[in-house]
């Protein structure tokens, strides 16, 4: 079942130096229970893609295209409308876990808030539109003290039980004690796991993770990635992982979308991507991967550099660096073509 259908999404940012194209006619479909990785280098637009889906683009943006979530076009919803979906149906976690948590509240306060939001949403059903936060803190309606864990006022015991369950699920040792801690007392790995717990406690259908492990140590990264893969099955969530690291993607993703300079380059099942990479950029990226020692292998880096997003070449954006480029590539932009096994690519080598 298709969960998310992004169609011809174009995002531009208005800056002092003019309009910058962040995304250009990107289309992609995400199914239920899928682990999808969006891979690309700096400036390719992958973060913009994530922010577009969850509706957190900055004021300076200009967007075109549609993002259909369960049949509804999210682009047509205003900020108010998006509040129904953001954090609830569609959750997001970011690169810096320690700045994602509010430093002046304890972990328990923040996790409890997330859980209360979910419960009240369920209670209000379809009528939930931005009133949810009022309800969470309105003592008359729900009978929860405003500061859920402060001093003698203890949170409802069943909420606390649920919090402990979530923390155990994300493998946090000593969960009861961690609930009392402030964010500055946590390590990056723990904070990121708590963020995952908070996001998943909403039981979202889609979790967008923007470089969630880039700021973490290698061993912690392995723990978090493994956790995400396991939880996906347990909680029945689709994960959209944004990363610059193909190795990370290869370890956890089912499918990979490769992006270059704001455009879609290739969409493929993960094993297919590695055994039969189609787009020359993907091939170049795979050649950049370090497998061996300097004596055992010769690295062949991609010649040249990523284009200036304010000054894009006409035609295919990878053409200036492409070893297979021919005339048509310099003047026309290729459209996606789908080959066998749902493997699609934007490149004139394959037609169109």
């Amino acid at each position: 079942m298709t969960l998310l259908d992004i169609s011809n999404l174009t995002v531009q940012y208005l800056t002092g130096g003019g309009l910058v194209n962040a995304l250009d006619s990107v289309s992609l479909k995400v199914s239920e229970n899928e682990f999808l990785a969006v891979v690309g280098e700096s400036g390719c637009g992958k973060t913009t893609l994530g922010l577009s889906v969850i509706g957190l683009l900055p004021e300076s943006r200009r967007v075109r295209g549609s993002i259909n979530y369960k049949g509804k076009d999210l682009m047509k919803l205003g900020q108010r409308g998006m509040r129904d979906y953001r954090g609830t149906e569609i959750a997001m976690i970011f690169q810096e876990p320690l700045t994602s948590l509010n430093p002046v509240y304890r972990v328990g306060d923040q996790l409890a808030e997330a859980i209360m939001v979910r419960r009240i949403r369920k209670e209000l059903g379809d009528k939930a539109t931005g009133e949810v936060m009022n309800k969470v803190y309105n003592t008359k309606d729900i009978n929860i003290p405003p500061r859920l864990m402060r001093g003698k006022q203890r949170v409802l015991s069943d909420v606390k039980e649920e919090m402990v369950r979530w923390l155990s699920l994300v493998r946090i040792p000593d969960p009861e004690q961690v609930l009392e801690r402030y964010p500055f007392e946590l390590s990056g790995g723990m904070a990121q796991r708590i963020m995952i717990a908070m996001a998943l406690s909403q039981e979202p259908a889609l979790l967008i993770a923007d470089e969630p492990t880039t700021a973490l140590d290698v061993t912690t990264q392995a723990q978090v990635l493994k956790l995400m893969r396991e939880l996906m099955a347990k909680v029945s969530t689709t994960i959209l992982l944004i990363t610059h690291d193909l190795a990370v993607a290869s370890q956890v993703a089912d499918r990979v979308i490769v992006m270059y300079a704001g455009e879609f380059a290739e969409d493929s099942e993960i094993h297919d991507l590695f055994s039969r990479p189609m787009h020359p950029y993907t091939q170049g990226l795979l050649n950049c991967i370090l497998f061996d020692t300097k004596d055992g292998s010769s690295l062949s880096p991609i010649h040249g550099s990523v284009p200036d997003m304010r000054n894009l070449p006409p035609g295919c954006r990878f053409a200036p660096r492409c070893l297979h480029a021919f005339d048509r590539c310099q003047s026309n932009r290729p459209l996606p073509v789908t080959k066998e096994n749902h493997h699609s690519v934007s490149c004139f080598l394959y037609g169109k």
């Binding site: 280098e41 290698v218 370890q251 993960i270 950049c288 370090l290 020692t293 062949s300």
Partner: protein, 332 residues
């Protein structure tokens, strides 16, 4: 370990940082230390690369800064190019003519107010006493040597990308033709394709000028690519040390094993991460565990590990491990 042609050699190098205990000179509080580097002995042969691998907090950056004397050592010895340099009476200029460093963050490696050419020329002016004309010429040559156009010398850092800035930093470091280059996470802040370009550049430069490298990184793949020998650091100590392929393919210290298993292999048919299992977190550097610092997290730990700190011992040719139970790990 052959002793001839060692460009750098540290013996039991230590760096402790005092933690403030207030201004009361009569305070009864004990002076506490952050033991960032706690007895590190390693050596680099001429023309070779030693990769120092570890995660955050293991002390590798402090090690680099202590070796370059940017931080003064608390104890131990540093021998560079045949001379002892840790006794505080050395001529810095002599050392820096032969030892330079490339830093992790390209954005903070160049003075934003200075033109690239002036930044690169700083080492030449300060260390070689070149005239302005000589500096200008050498700077442009250095830029070409790192694969950049000569006119980049007139640009400001903010006009350059991360990869270009890192190349400029490399140009600055090699311009006085040093013998040893300390590279602190030289590609961590860069994209994959740029990383590949910089790494090939470093390999070329090493061959061309017979440079010795000390590479600091948390990335196993980068370490494997560039290094001839690898030293794995954990909580201020080297826990394993040996030829690259020996350490990577046949790791013997439990931490090294966990580290290598956790590194994401770019191969969807070998999903090693999903089997990786290491519990706990990096220990506090102020109050590290007694005995072997890895013992709280080690699956093979026994009582002796909590009381006695293991020393580096040779297990096979040139392959050293600091662990009481190397036989257990060999069986894995």
């Amino acid at each position: 370990m052959a002793n001839e042609n060692l460009i750098l050699n540290t013996v039991n190098l230590k760096k402790y940082f005092k933690i403030g205990r207030g201004m009361n000179p009569f305070s009864h509080k004990e002076q506490r230390y952050v033991r960032a580097v706690d007895g590190v002995s390693l050596s680099i042969q001429e023309g070779k690369t030693v990769g120092v691998v570890g995660e955050s907090g293991c002390g590798k950056t402090t090690l680099a800064k202590t070796i370059t004397l940017l931080i003064s050592p608390t104890g131990g010895e540093i021998h560079f190019d045949g001379k002892r340099i840790d006794d505080g009476r050395v001529n810095r200029r002599d050392i820096y003519r032969n030892m330079q460093m490339v830093f992790q963050d390209p954005d903070s490696s160049l003075d934003p107010q200075m033109k690239i050419g002036d930044s690169i020329g700083e080492q030449l002016r300060g260390l070689m006493g070149y005239s302005d004309a000589e500096v200008k010429k050498t700077v442009r040559e250095s830029l070409e040597g790192v694969g950049m156009p000569r006119d980049l010398a007139d640009r400001l850092p903010r006009q350059l990308s991360g990869g270009q800035k890192q190349r400029a930093a490399i140009a600055r470091a090699i311009s006085p033709h040093p013998k040893l280059l300390i590279l602190d996470e030289p590609t961590s802040a860069l994209d994959a394709s740029v990383q590949a370009q910089i790494l090939t550049l470093l390999v070329d430069l090493q061959k061309k000028f017979n440079l010795s490298y000390m590479l600091i990184t948390h990335n196993i793949a980068v370490a494997k690519y560039l290094s001839d020998t690898i030293a794995v650091m954990y909580s201020g100590n080297v826990v394993e040390y040996g030829p690259t392929l020996a350490v990577i393919n046949r790791p013997r210290h439990p931490y090294t094993m966990a580290l290598i298993r956790s590194a994401p292999v770019p191969d969807p048919w070998k999903r090693n991460i999903l089997q990786a299992e290491i519990k706990g977190e990096v220990p506090s550097a102020i109050n590290p565990p007694s005995g072997c610092r890895f013992n709280p997290r080690c699956p093979y730990a026994e009582d002796v590990c909590k009381t006695e700190k293991p020393q580096l011992e040779e297990t096979s040719l040139s392959h050293l491990v600091a662990c009481h139970f190397v036989e257990k790990t060999a069986a894995t």
